[in-house]
């Protein structure tokens, strides 16, 4: 009897020690997460209630939010952001799924080659990518004008980034090229992990390629798709560097996004409270979009 009690005590002690060790292992990342994510989020929410500038720190309640919804530039930035998300997320997902489903069947060496090619813009510095694109869009000697004129699509040079009708689409195009790399790699990996015995069984039963894809592969790659949808949505909402480096939100706010407008208000005009209020709204919008995506994906599963 005494022996059983001792063993039970020892087990408890071991479990406690393991628990402590577990918490200690988690502590650095938890501290990092709390310090660099939770605390700034709380601060953002807090300062959004203040007229916080270089000289003021006065409580104003929801005034910043009230001003926000009457600010036409915020409205324009919100619309631009939504256009970017709506245009880029489905195209990135569909394109990467299409490319992924082609290259995963190739020989290993070819798959690796294409993975590298598509992943290259992801690992290339955003400034370098932007400089190259800026050169391509240059209205005086840019490659795009040269090619389009050669093909007879345009007769005179276009100012792609200086035209209010084309500037945002140029940004979306660049965002697309820099966003597809990771989803392609993820899809290649997910498609390679699909249970081939099920695919073979379906093919033996006479299922078409389409039926095999929708009935067998699609459900199995759904978690990957969901992940890609969420990260692409968040990245699209947070599109900033491209705009800062290429257009500064212009011409006439045609490429201004919420992220860029937050930066402009907070760092150019030192209106930290107002910028924080925009940050809160952006976080809410991203959370809503992600929740809808999760719900849709769940119902699909």
């Amino acid at each position: 009897m005494q022996k059983t009690i001792d063993i039970s005590k020892q087990l408890k002690q071991t479990r406690r020690r393991e628990n402590i060790a577990g918490y200690l292992f988690m502590a650095p990342s938890l501290l990092f997460f709390a310090g660099f994510v939770i605390f700034p989020m709380g601060m953002c929410l807090f300062t959004s209630m203040f007229d916080y500038t270089m000289t003021n720190f006065d409580f104003v309640g929801f005034s910043n939010y009230y001003e926000l919804f009457r600010d036409p530039t915020f409205g324009k930035s919100l619309i631009n952001t939504i256009i970017i998300v709506v245009a880029s997320v489905p195209t990135v997902c569909l394109f990467s799924l299409w490319v992924g489903s082609i290259i995963y069947k190739l020989k290993d060496i070819h798959t690796s080659f294409f993975r590298c090619i598509f992943y290259l813009p992801v690992v290339t510095g955003s400034v370098a990518v932007t400089v190259v694109w800026k050169w391509m869009f240059n209205p005086y000697y840019g490659l795009l004008n040269y090619v389009f004129k050669g093909l007879g699509i345009i007769s005179t040079n276009m100012n792609w980034l200086g035209n209010m009708d084309t500037a945002l689409w140029c940004i979306i195009l660049i965002l697309f090229t820099t966003s597809v790399g990771q989803p392609i790699v993820l899809y290649v990996s997910a498609l390679s992990n699909v249970d081939h015995s099920l695919v073979e069984a379906a093919e033996v039963d006479g299922a078409t390629n389409m039926q095999v894809f929708w009935r067998i592969k699609w459900p199995q790659i759904m978690p990957t798709t969901l992940y890609i949808l969420v990260i692409t949505t968040i990245n699209s909402f947070q599109c900033f560097a491209l705009i800062q480096l290429l257009t500064s939100g212009g011409p006439n706010y045609a490429t201004s996004t919420i992220m860029y407008y937050i930066y402009y208000e907070a760092f150019k005009l030192s209106r930290y409270g107002y910028g924080s209020a925009m940050g809160v709204i952006l976080a809410i919008i991203i959370a809503l979009f992600s929740a809808v995506q999760f719900r849709l994906a769940k119902s699909d599963q």
Binding site: M54, Y140, G250, F267, K268, S270
Partner: protein, 428 residues
Amino acid sequence: MKKLLAVLLTLMMVLSMSTLAMAEAATEITLWTYPIGGWGNEETVNGIIANFNAVHPEIKVTVQYLDYASGDDQVTTAIEAGTTPDIIMEGPERLVTNWGAAGKMLDVSDLWTEEALADIGATSQAVVAACKTADGKYYEYPLCMTTHCMIIDRAAFEAADAMQYIDEETHTWTTEGFENALRALAAAGNPVTGIVYCGGQGGDQGTRALAMNLYSAKFTNEDHTAYTMNSEAGVKGIQKLADLVTEGVLTADPSIVAGDEIALFCNGTAKMSFCWNASAAASNKTSIAEGIEPFPMAFPSEDGVPELCGGIWGFGLFNNGDDAKAAAAKTFIQFVSDDKTQGPASVYATGFFPVRSSFGDIYAGTEKADNADYAIFMPYLGDYYNVTSGWATQRTEWWNMLQRVFAGGDVTTEVNAYVDASNASITK
């Protein structure tokens, strides 16, 4: 007991040694500088600091180099984080109007001795006025100044027979002459004559000076409390630019910034640049393509007498609550700005002109002798209106207004919207 004594003894020795070391240590100060000519070059600045340390070895200066694209953000972040440098080098629009007025800077009135006031005032009273706020506190001690101008490709102008519209002796021209020159250049087969860039990010002084001077408009009122480009002359100037763009003899480009426009002049694409000065001439000397003959010009005005925008650069001190560091920082500023040998050398590094009249012609007989050519514009130095409150908002509104105008917007409506938005920011 012995062990305890040994530990105590060791501790005491360590403490006394570190106290001694601290007493002997140099006062460390930090300097943040924007790329004001050679002051953005590490080698040049290290040379200046070495000269300073030869006289003041007790002060150690650490330098951080800012650029105009992200420098303001870095300073804003530092202000909020409480990590501002001791000294910052830039112009009154930042040091006085922005950070000084916000109470982040130290009053440097003690640097403005009677001798300094007289010497700098003899060059320009506008410089003295720009360095202080309305309540008389000085937040900047200036080192150098310049007038912003434009540059043309003399070879292209000669080929188009457009030099006839220019007064080559005074480097000035009239609005009518400017128009005729643009038409002549276009007729001679130059698809890009000049580019009114409006992509933001600085260099806006060029487009401002161009629009203002065409019909001698005032950018702000006299006491710098309101933006006034919606005056008849202001609207007329911007309308003229819009008309020239519509006519096809001038280009408007919302996709490029001043740096791009300068590059397009240097590579021969554009035949003039609206963003030029003595320092730009020095820094772009090697990048100008063969066959281009740079010829500095004042901005065109109806009567041929321009009012040029000035640039003033100098030092300010952030209020970091450390008197010893503030004193050391002032010693540094006095050395680099006022010393009879180092002062002119510090100005020489910028490529601009000294604010102190006693320094005389610092470029005579040097490899930068060409810079003296730009001294011809100094008499045209206009009001330093950059110190008007709401400057940051005004700059963004300015290029947005130009973008709307060149996209076909009604000039009067857009200029009024710009002035309203800029004036509204004055009270914020």
